[in-house]
Symmetry: C2
Subunit: 120 residues, 2 copies
Amino acid sequence: MQVDVIRLDEKLARFEGHWAPRIIAQMNDYHFKLVKILGEFVWHSHADTDEVFLVIEGRMRIEFRDQSIDLSAGELCVVPRGVEHKPSADAECHVMLVEPADTVNTGDAGGDRTAGQIWI
Amino acid sequence: MQVDVIRLDEKLARFEGHWAPRIIAQMNDYHFKLVKILGEFVWHSHADTDEVFLVIEGRMRIEFRDQSIDLSAGELCVVPRGVEHKPSADAECHVMLVEPADTVNTGDAGGDRTAGQIWI
């Protein structure tokens, strides 16, 4: 049995590019992922699951149809299942996501920004 | 529909005392908790679930029967289900835990350090 220390900074240094989450840990059937974001993502929702965003560095916005929230480092939110949302960031922002292992980044929207399941 | 911004620092300022996790968010049937730790906890395991420790501030150690790991701010680990572990910290350390909503802090060990389910 080997339990590894997972360093967020070290994992973040391993990849570039935006909106393509990398998996860094699995707890039961949930994945912990890191993603770098910049600009606007697509409107989408996840019918079957909530989703947690925890900002590690920088600032991001999540728009909903009836409100928007700004998140800075050390802040998190839970996007409820089925709720349409559009993440964005004016400058590169580093985020940790927690969600079920089969969650697709674009949810119901699909399209060419759909990312694969990549471990780092 | 109201999505709240959850600030870790602000939540940490709301409580004192050690080894008594406070719940700050729920994602599906999982809880995100904050805990302040100091000194040694009890040896215990969780038969039915993995458990994530993410250090927010300070340093902690987790001893296992066959190894030990040190975690600093920005580092996380996944303690596998059924694996005995004993967390400790030489100075106060602030940690975020992620685990199923019914997880008891002392696992199979029970005893007087078993904490209730307290939201902040």
